[in-house]
């Protein structure tokens, strides 16, 4: 007899757990926590790059979840509802830490370090593979605003319009921040691969001659 659950059976099981949790069933609470803890914790950890903060925020997210679970009506998937709640918890925490840290205002250039434009320069490939540990370390080194957008988009799969709504910025700004985040990650990962910094004087095919 197969022990794997079909998606329909999984949803039915989770629906039952949610209903029981809404009635104060501790075992149902525990089961929901067990089912979703890794995704929520991973989100918190990648957004903050700090284990202690991530644990605190995970706790806070689940506490808020269980306090509000009676208001869950099933209009969206439970995991989506929980995930959005956790994102708001993290962003609120980051904003409390420093108002400028996650600002995505159009005119905010505080996170803009000179991002080298490698177009037209030498081949700077990441050799086709991205080391997972290196990527996690590189994400942790991103400025908070870049990190937030990159994690939400490329790691968690949010669309730009959703990110814009969550972070109260424009879609264009979200796209711009994501692009800058990817450029910085690429540069950082190239250094891990032993790539040399780009020699600006060797821009090929530009027709600019030295005097």
């Amino acid at each position: 007899m197969s022990t794997t659950k079909t998606p329909a059976r999984k949803a039915a099981t989770e629906t039952d757990l949610i209903a029981r949790a809404q009635r104060g069933d501790e075992e149902a609470f525990a089961a929901l926590f067990e089912a979703h803890k890794r995704r929520i914790y991973s989100l918190c950890l990648r957004m903050t790059s700090n284990t202690a903060e991530a644990e605190d925020l995970t706790q806070e997210a689940f506490l808020q979840l269980f306090r509000k679970i009676a208001t869950f009506r099933g209009e969206s998937a439970f995991s989506t509802w929980l995930h959005r709640l956790a994102v708001n918890v993290v962003l609120m925490h980051l904003r409390k830490k420093g108002l400028q840290q996650v600002s995505l205002d159009e005119t905010d250039n505080s996170q803009d370090e000179p991002v080298r434009r490698d177009y037209g320069s030498e081949d700077l490939r990441l050799t086709g593979s991205v080391d997972r540990i290196g990527l996690q370390d590189a994400i942790a080194e991103l400025p908070p605003g870049y990190r937030a957008v990159f994690v939400l988009h490329d790691v968690e799969g949010y669309e730009h319009n959703e990110i814009a709504e969550i972070m109260k910025c424009s879609v264009g700004n979200s796209k711009s921040q994501l692009h800058k985040a990817r450029m910085k990650l690429r540069e950082r990962l190239r250094q891990d691969h032993g790539g040399e910094p780009v020699d600006q004087s060797m821009a090929a095919g530009t027709g600019i001659a030295d005097p």
Binding site: R46, L124, L135, S176, R182, S201, A203
Partner: protein, 308 residues
């Protein structure tokens, strides 16, 4: 003409006020005419014209070689020297990666090696990011959540029926399992007749032993070792163990457990007060047993967690 006379001469005064405009080419013919008539003013005009001419003929200075190198490097960093096609590629790339139709991106990437590298790297980044593994939180996270929710009374009504009392987790700790057995025995004894209550302060908790009249005589004849099996004593013993180890507990976790225990002690005290007034109040009796059970469970959970 003496200088003092020149200063007071109206024509010279007019010359002085107009000569600057004349040198700017603003059409002051009277300036040149007066310069021809007045030797002093003519000398002034000649000198000013010579200075202007010399200034225009000053040689140009040569900047240091580093000036161009620095300027070129900064312009290159800003992408000023990128080929137009690469610039357009860069502008279209984010939307292409979002799945929007941008035919220029793949077509340019076929022809331009650096831009193709960029596209491949971004694609690899996205794939790796989406495949990052999930992280496991520490066990303390759930312990803290559970303790907080328990303290807030989130977990439904008091235990009813043996099925919920006999949860597997509770029975994993031997001491609460023994306490449960004693609670069952005591529960049976208490229903036999009028109850007599005895309360005494013990340590930081309130310990109470509920006894019925027939059982009271039995307990009166109990040896000290037998009295150790009363539910209150068992819970008290668990609490002593908890207090002995609480110094090593995280402050916020300890605070959460303390809050739960205070709430349970309040329930126990209330039940005992009710039973003192109404010894045959079976509901108060049931709630008292449930409160002892719950307190034993909380303490055993705390001790179990501390033992990890």
């Amino acid at each position: 003409m003496a200088e003092s006379e020149q200063r007071n001469n109206p024509a010279c005064k007019a010359f002085a006020s107009e000569v600057a405009a004349h040198l700017e080419g603003e059409g002051r013919p009277q300036v040149a005419e007066h310069a021809r008539e007045c030797t002093a003013c003519g000398a002034v005009l000649a000198d000013l014209e010579a200075i202007r001419s010399a200034a225009r003929d000053l040689p140009l200075a040569e900047p240091a070689p580093a000036l161009w190198s620095n300027l070129r490097a900064k312009l290159a960093a800003e992408g000023a020297f990128a080929a137009p096609a690469c610039t357009l590629f860069a502008a279209e790339l984010p939307d292409y990666l979002e799945g929007e139709a941008r035919p220029l991106v793949p077509s340019h990437a076929e022809q331009c090696r650096p831009c193709r590298s960029l596209l491949e790297d971004f694609t690899a980044l996205r794939r790796a990011a989406a495949e990052l593994p999930l992280e496991e939180p520490a066990p303390a996270v759930w312990a803290n959540v559970r303790a907080r929710l328990d303290a807030e009374g989130a977990f439904g009504t008091p235990v009813q029926g043996w099925r919920q009392i006999l949860s597997w987790r509770f029975l994993q700790h031997p001491l609460p399992a023994g306490a449960l057995a004693m609670l069952i025995l005591m529960g049976s004894a208490l229903t036999l007749g009028p109850s007599r209550l005895q309360t005494r302060q013990y340590g930081s908790g309130i310990e109470a032993v509920a006894m019925d009249s027939d059982a009271a005589s039995v307990f009166a004849n109990l040896s000290a070792g037998d009295q150790d099996r009363s539910p209150a004593f068992v819970v008290s013993k668990l609490e002593r163990e908890f207090r002995a180890s609480e110094a090593s507990m995280a402050p916020d976790l300890k605070a959460t457990y303390d809050k739960s225990l205070v709430s349970l002690d309040d329930s126990i005290h209330e039940c005992l007060s009710s039973l003192q007034d109404e010894p045959r109040n079976t509901l108060a009796h049931d709630y008292l047993m449930a409160a002892y059970t719950r307190k034993a469970e909380v303490l055993s959970t705390a001790l179990e967690f501390e033992g990890r």
